[in-house]
Symmetry: none
Subunit: 404 residues, 2 copies
């Protein structure tokens, strides 16, 4: 039995509020003896850690470096191995496209084809500007195929995403179509073969799309063909409300994270601006929801750039906003990340992620600061990310007793 099956019959509603703050990529590694969290001057986070339940969560499993998708699904209470999100969906979400239950999304590359053979799988990495022009042309000329509306969105260099929007919700296996990318130059593209009965209709749209795109692009020297990968539809997972009885608001300025929240049907209004603007928005909407996911992107971005001081500075910026957030007096406040992004590695990593949980029902007093090493001493221990949400519910009085 998975965790969601266990807790669903125990969920009860009340008027408590739970605030989950995700400092994207918060966990780090020491450089000159200190991690980013240790080097940053964060008196408010440190004071909070002293009186909170602390620990570290393992996003997927020991040694596994999560992408943003599994990283967020875990802390949203979904087993990130059971609930895998298709690459096409993630690509579309990352480019800011709205994805619905009626949609199949697919990652595409511009490529070069000569006499039926792919000679460059990335079309010489055409400039992003060129990509925008070509993708705009495809969108203008291909608006519908069969009963599917087509939505194109350019990415970086040779990459773009396509959504095929059908008139009604799709079956779970409707997007079971192999990649047409042959993975090696010097080979012919593969046909978009349906791997299930329900995928036949989608595969026909895909084949027509590939042919029409070739027709439109054939005058191009490099980008005269498209390769498709990661056909996928929305995962069939319970909504956040169904699973946990929570009316949730996602506060995120990057489309990818709103998209991830939307996967579980949190409310995800478009939003721009700084973390300060996000906190302003949180205050405005505080009475309307009982769960808030507030996403702070820039911590991760500086980690990815290998900018230790920049990442520490973003943590200090957030720390300054903390008193204002605490002023809302949420019943349960969790501060954590979706994964670690040590500047030392310039990338996401497998390291467990510091967690702080503040509620009236914790021991506290075990950690002197909010950092990787202090959280090791905390009462939550090192635990699977998927356990975080039940813990939030318990601390909010939202779970009944199991058994008599």
């Amino acid at each position: 039995m998975n965790m969601q099956e266990l807790i669903k019959p125990l969920v009860q509603k009340n008027d408590t509020k739970i605030l989950l703050i995700v400092l994207d990529g918060v966990g780090g590694l020491p450089v000159n003896g200190k991690t980013e969290l240790e080097a940053a001057n964060t008196p408010n986070l440190d004071k909070l850690a002293k009186e909170s339940a602390c620990g570290l969560h393992v996003p997927v499993a020991y040694g596994i470096t999560p992408g943003s998708g599994p990283g967020h699904l875990g802390i949203f209470g979904y087993d990130p191995v059971e609930c895998q999100i298709g690459r096409g969906i993630l690509e579309a979400l990352g480019l800011g496209l709205e994805v619905r239950k009626t949609d199949v999304a697919v990652r595409c590359n511009y490529a070069t084809i000569k006499e039926g053979i792919i000679t460059d799988r990335r079309a010489g990495r055409i400039p992003t500007e060129k990509n925008k022009v070509l993708t705009g042309r495809l969108q203008n000329e291909i608006k519908k195929i069969d009963d599917a509306e087509l939505i194109f969105e350019p990415g970086m260099e040779h990459r773009f995403a396509v959504i095929m929007r059908f008139p009604e919700n799709l079956q779970p296996d409707s997007a079971m179509i192999n990649d047409t990318d042959p993975q090696k130059e010097g080979k012919a593209p593969l046909p978009a073969q349906p791997l299930s009965k329900n995928a036949e209709r989608v595969s026909q749209v895909a084949e027509k799309l590939i042919n029409r795109a070739h027709e439109i692009l054939k005058g191009e020297e490099r980008a005269n063909f498209i390769l498709t990968r990661g056909f996928s539809s929305m995962p069939h997972i319970p909504t956040f409300k169904d699973a946990f009885g929570l009316n949730a608001l996602a506060i995120a300025t990057y489309p990818m994270y709103r998209g991830l929240a939307k996967l579980v049907e949190m409310n995800t209004p478009a939003l721009e601006g700084s973390v300060e603007d996000e906190v302003k928005f949180l205050k405005q909407k505080y009475n309307e929801y009982d769960f808030f996911f507030l996403h702070v992107k820039k911590v991760d971005s500086y980690g990815e750039d290998g900018n230790f001081e920049g990442k520490a500075a973003r943590l200090e910026e957030f720390d300054k906003l903390l008193p204002e957030i605490l002023g809302l007096k949420p019943d349960v406040l969790i501060i954590t990340g979706d994964h670690s992004t040590p500047s030392l590695l310039k990338s996401h990593s497998w390291h467990p992620v510091p967690v702080l949980l503040k509620s009236p029902y914790v021991l506290g007093g075990l950690c002197s600061a909010f950092s990787e090493r202090e959280c090791v001493k905390g009462e939550l221990g090192i635990f699977p990310a998927v356990n975080l949400l039940p813990l939030a519910l318990a601390n909010a009085g939202r779970l009944k007793k199991f058994g008599a």
Copy 2:
């Protein structure tokens, strides 16, 4: 593979003795900075913690508050999610009834019915004294239905339990019968429908019981009908002896806990008195068994009452008895709880439960006292309750090597 399958082939016997002391609801939360364990003066427990392996067990899962059933099954080495005990069984055990593998147990309410409609599901919460009279009358007039012997036991107010004792052991699905309680006033009671082939015979007994009870009670103004919930038979789980090779004695003064021990076929003599009496009994029987479960109820009771000082005082009382218990020199001594019951919450809670394991084969030296916060620092970490029994067996030299 579950834990029991893993360890069963590794079990070996010897003449060691394992003593598991359950301070019911021992875990707490700070009030004025200290938990009950921290506030209580428990020099013997603290000294023992210093030289023991300590940690905290998670009874069911992060955030899950266990009832007494799952709480005990976990520390007895049974997965409390896989081995769920029916509500009828728990009710019967709690009222002190002996339940056998031949039995179906069911929780009942006295209710008020008018012209086929339930007008009060609790018969106006009739006094317990009235309940005793009515239940006595039912027992007198209904001794047998078909081939099932009927056993009635009054509870508090409108509640009572019934056991239907059949001539032979029942199949696992024999009690799959829906509740007849419609859950809302203004509705007709539901028929006791069998949800499996094997349940048909039991459902017929149930229907006849409900009709005969109505016949007997029809002159009553309020308690003129009975509603039934939680039909259940004994769980089909391996006995403690089969699973772990242990000849076990349960020492408990409350029927519920003897009942839980009986589920796994520990020896469970009826016993009354104080914790001191329990320890006396332990000493008397010490040569006859190799595993002892000694249950200390009152720690939980004071926690449930929100009586912080009372709970701390019960811990101090137990502490005074500890030298006498240590005098028995058990090979492995475990002191823990089945769940936490913080006075602050006046109820069971989801918090991990302090554990102390004393044997010659531990590190020790990590914790300065027996408390929630000190146990966080211990060598056992925070671990699922179901892992406790294999640890006891290992420390008692009762588990062979796994693999070559």
